[in-house]
Each structure stands twice: as C-alpha cells, then as structure tokens.
Point group: C2
C-alpha cells in the first residue's frame, strides 16, 4: 500500500513541479509512513523525492528510528538520526546534501511545518524554494482506498453500539454533563483501543449553540438532547449525531422541527453521487430546511470530510467545488437550533460509491423517546 | 497583570537583544494576551515590541479581533485584520512595515511558529533575524504569579474530590477501562467548565508500562491500581496519581514497594526549596528508591513543570539545572514498576514557597484498600 501511495505522490509531485515533499508528524506523516510520530521539541522530517530511484529520507531522533524502519509500509528509508544532546542540524545537513535539495522546489505543509523543521532544511538549502504541497496531499487523502474504507466502516459501528447502550441509561433530571459521562463510560466499554473524546451533549436552550460542550443543565422531560460524538478505530474516525427525546414526547413544534431535519439529512445523503460538487450536498440539505421556513436556524455547513482527521477536505459548504469521486468520505449533518426551544441535528458519515452514496452510519433516524 | 507581564517581557527582550517577540496561538499567546486563540489555517500573530512606547500589533482574522480588543488584559493593540477571502499577507506587510521589523531581531517560538506565520513576517522583513525567544518565555512562565497560583490551587482540588467519590464506585472485576469510565464520569460531575481528559488507569502487569492508557484487563482482588489524572480550571492544570488496592490487601512485596514509593514521594517533596536545582528534587526521590534496591524499576523522571501546559519547564530530571524560585510549580511523581507484579506511583503538585515547598495536592498518600 505504501508503495502505491508513494508512487501516486511522485506522480503528483512531478506534475506540480515539486522535487521533494517534506512532511512533519501529523496526519500526512501517518498516511504516507503508517507510523505514529508526534510533533515535539525533537524534529522529525520525512522527505519524499519525486524520483522513484532515490531513497526517501527520514530525519529522526535515534530512539524513534525503529518505528519507521519496522513500519507497516516497508519503506526503504535512508535514516538520518541524532541522539539526545546532539544537534539535529548535522543529520539534516547530511540529508539535504545527499538529496541535493539546494535550489530545488520543496513541497511543504505551511500549516504544519514549524520554524524548527524549516530552518533545519534551509541551512544547507538556502536557495531552495519552499512551496505548498497542500493541494496534492489533500487530493490524495480525500479519496480513501479499500483499507481505509474498511477501517472507517469499523469506526462507524462503534458509536452506534454506544448509542444503543447509552440511551438505555439516560434519565430525566440528569445534567447534560452526567449524560455526557454516560456516553463516555459506554464508549470506554465499547472501544478498547482508543481513549474516547468527550461527546457534545446539549438540551433545551443550549442546543441553540450547536457546538458547545455539555453543561450543568438538568434534562427536563420532553427535552430534545443533541448528542454528537464518534470513535477512532485504527486511526480512522467516525462522527455521528442523533437527537433524543428524554423522558417524554417533545412539543408539537419541536416534533415538526425534528421531521424537517430528518428530511434534510435524507436529502443530503440522497444527493451524494460521483460528479456532483461538495457544495451540491450542502444545497440539497439546506433547501429542505429553507423551504420549511427554518433557513435562518441552520447556522453551519452541512458537513466535512472525515478520515485520519476529524475535519478534513472536502467541506459540504457553498463554495467548495470539489468534484465528488468514489471513495470520498464526509458527514451530512444538517441542524435547526431555535433559541429558547432547543435544537435538532442528525449526522451521518457517507462514502461516495460508483453510482451514488452509502451511509456508513445506519442508526435509526426516527425520533427516539428514551 | 498584563502590563506587568508585558513590561517584564520588554525588560528580558532588551537584555537578550530581541527587538520584537512574535507569538502564535498556544500557551504563550494565552499567557501574554489572556485570550484563547487556536492554531488554524487562518494565521494569528501577536508582535510585542521591546520598546514600551510602541503599540503591540495583532495580525488576526477580522471575526476574531474582538476577543483581543475585549480581552482581560486591556492591551492597547494595534490590530491588522483580514477577512475570509482576503490574503493575510497584506495585513502582515502593514504590521511589519509599521513596526520597522526588517533588519531587526525577531524573537520566535521555533517549536510553535509555522511556515504559515514565519513567511508572512519575512515577506517584508527579508533581512530580519529570527531568533529563539524560548528562554525568556520559559523564564517568565516558570514562576507563577498570585493569580496563576490561585487557579492552580483550585485546579488541584478537583481531582481530589474526584478521587474521594470515584474510589467508592470501584469494584473488583471491573476492567481498567471501566474504572477509567468511573473516573471520567465523576470528573464530568465535579468540573463543569472543562471536558476531562481520560485518566491513565493501570493494574497488575500493565503498570510496568508507566504511561499506557487503560486496557481491557479485569481488576483482581488485591491488585494495585495506578490512577493518573488531573483537571484544568481557568486554564491551569493539576496532575495527581494515587495507587489504590482494589478489593483486598496487596501482596507483602507490593506493600513494601508501596511504602518505598511513599517515602520517595515524601523525600522529593521535602527537598523542595528555593535555591536548589530541579535535578536535586529528582535525586532526593530517586535515592530513596535506589537505596531500597528498586532503582532499576524507577524508569522515568521524578516530575515536570505544570501550569498552562500539562508538561512544561522545569523538569525534575538529572541535567535540569534550573534554580528553583518561589512560585515555581511542578510535579513530584516517583514510581516503581515490576513486570508481572504491578506498579506504584504517587504524584503530587508542588509550589516553591519562600522557604520551602508546599503540596497543592494533599489527598492521603496512605495505601487505600477500596
């Protein structure tokens, strides 16, 4: 798989006129190396040449080199390591010299690479031209391969199991925070490998602020509770939102709001197919809410890409002209939030298929009275 | 308070020959501005001149400017804002020109500032010299002022309340993960303002790996359970570890190990006073463990600084020659981990006082059988 990714990267590099791509720890490092490295005061830089005949270089603390050498993708690294107490500049100078980087075009991630790393590279490559590689990295990562999709399918199942179990444990009178605690506890039980992120839990008034954390408000019978959470399985994430009535039926108005959001979610999902634009998914969901007269209460984009990062390209929002292609994964999560009355959001994770879209999350979207 | 911090910064800048300090979102931004900004694809840079007569500059997205203008520290910002869709380079060029940065020494955080921000500054300051401001920033942040210490005292109380309540809910047969869920739930109940971080919960075998996350192992009667967690209150953190026997007395050997760690923790805390070095605290704790014959099982440093960041300077480790001064805050957390038998760690948060040290965390260090 690695070779496939690195070969694809080389092809895109050559088309973009980029001689080498230099990657620092983060999602792109994981994507291309299969190894978990973390940004710290000890610099780590992977350098991928456009030419297939040149070994990729890894500047790395000596005690971290083994992770890459034994990494799952079997990359033929040339390692430039340094010990604690040694200046990493020596290792970096050697790598830069061996790769002949001075005067070349080096593709970087401007929002990830720090002065720490860029100055290491520049020391012996003062005439190199640093240029953004974001477009080619984004282009590769947006479309998931079979292995990635298998992980995303597994990730999508976890919050569905959590929802099924946690709903049984909800009671009116609990605070939002206590309800969040229930979801956390069940998440711990259901997903051994990963520390769970705190869910967003909102009821009543506060759901008018769609992405705040759980508060101290006690849940009243008939309150609609918006629960937004996910799981990470083998590095790939899921993200789901359901809106649950706790301890009684909601008001007629909020039942109507729920139905509008349910239809908007369905319309957004139904719109997904190869060839349309990311913004078209937004429009499909938004039109349902606008036509029902709630347009001004739908205060955020319809969705975001999902994968190694919780939010990544493409974005389901007016202006995102990404052409959907099979294997792209993203959320569809329309919502309506009315100050003083509460909010509803229903979020699913979609993958673009050869002829449409498939929902990775399938938990019931009917109103549940817990 | 802000003026105090900025005045102090100016003094240190002048001594270091740094004309301006440029800060990006993160702990230092929060420390000097009192405002929560986050690193994103939209650059934010605060520039603090060494001269008191020159206004600090803030390069910021227009929709985020209000946070600084209404910030708690009443800084007399000159704001250079940009709208979505506008190139932030224009705002940055104006700031750099107004401050006359070209050819000057600009202090930066090499492990925080990215190419995104450094290239914005360099565009009109190609002859400026970027130099690390880390030493002066660290020097300021290590010693906490009264306001910071008040927050840290409040933060230290939260995990103590959580411990008292969570211990009542532990049962043999629970998995480590379920126990972690108990701590998460109680943390949610006890600290309304902040999402809790998952605790580290380890028993039996796995405590031999001192910082792994909770696993699926069921807790056996008499197991020692190491629980390491904390809280954040008004941006300042606490960090506590206690080791609890669940469902029965531990073996005589592990009781002896517990007692050695308890004495090492006490010795480390007792060593704290102004004028000694950070590494002296490590030595005081480590000697107790070495003299008891368990030196090779104490596999990590004795502690780390604590404040806006969970790990910050100084570090209680051989080689850290920081001279302790009143107001410095750090952990003392010796441990012994024996493969196949389990581990013990006892961690407290200390502040250096005028004539010694005070433990911010005071939860009983006696062996608790829960």
């Amino acid at each position: 798989m690695s070779m496939h990714r690195l070969q694809k990267l080389q092809e895109l590099q050559r088309n973009a006129g980029i001689d080498c791509v230099a990657i620092v720890p983060g999602a792109n490092m994981l994507y291309f190396t299969g190894v978990h490295y973390h940004l710290s005061e000890r610099p780590i830089i992977a350098i991928f040449p456009a030419s297939a005949g040149v070994q990729p270089a890894l500047i790395v603390p000596a005690f971290e080199a083994g992770k890459a050498l034994n990494g799952p993708f079997r990359i033929d690294w040339r390692v430039y390591s340094y010990m604690d107490g040694q200046d990493p500049q020596t290792a970096a100078d050697q790598a830069v010299t061996d790769l002949g980087l001075d005067g070349r075009a080096i593709g970087v991630e401007p929002t990830a690479m720090r002065i720490l790393e860029s100055s290491l590279i520049s020391h012996r490559a003062a005439q190199a031209r640093m240029t953004s590689a974001v477009d080619i990295l984004k282009q590769m990562r947006m479309t998931k391969d079979d292995d990635e999709l298998a992980r995303m399918r597994r990730a999508a199942k976890v919050p569905e199991r959590v929802l099924a179990e946690a709903i049984k444990r909800l009671k009116p009178g609990m605070t939002e925070r206590e309800a969040a605690g229930v979801f956390m506890s069940v998440s711990f039980e259901q997903n051994p490998q990963e520390p769970a992120s705190p869910p967003l839990v909102q009821t009543g008034l506060s759901a008018a602020f769609p992405h705040a954390f759980a508060g101290g408000r006690a849940i009243q019978p008939g309150d609609l509770m918006v629960v937004d959470f996910g799981a990470v399985v083998e590095d790939y994430g899921s993200d789901i939102t359901r809106t649950i009535a706790v301890g009684g039926e909601p008001s007629d108005e909020m039942k109507r709001v729920y139905e509008v959001v349910r239809q908007a979610n369905a319309a957004g999902r139904a719109a997904v197919r190869p060839g349309i634009l990311a913004e078209d998914v937004d429009r499909a969901a938004r039109e349902v809410i606008e036509q029902a007269g709630y347009g001004r209460y739908f205060t955020h984009r319809t969705g975001h890409g999902l994968g190694l990062e919780g939010h990544e390209a493409p974005y389901m929002v007016k202006g995102d002209k990404t052409v959907l292609q099979p294997g792209m994964t993203f959320t569809v999560e329309p919502g309506i939030y009315i100050e003083g009355k509460g909010g509803v959001r229903i979020e699913d994770d979609m993958v673009v298929t050869d002829d449409g879209g498939e929902s990775l999350t399938t938990f019931s979207r009917d109103l549940i009275v817990a």
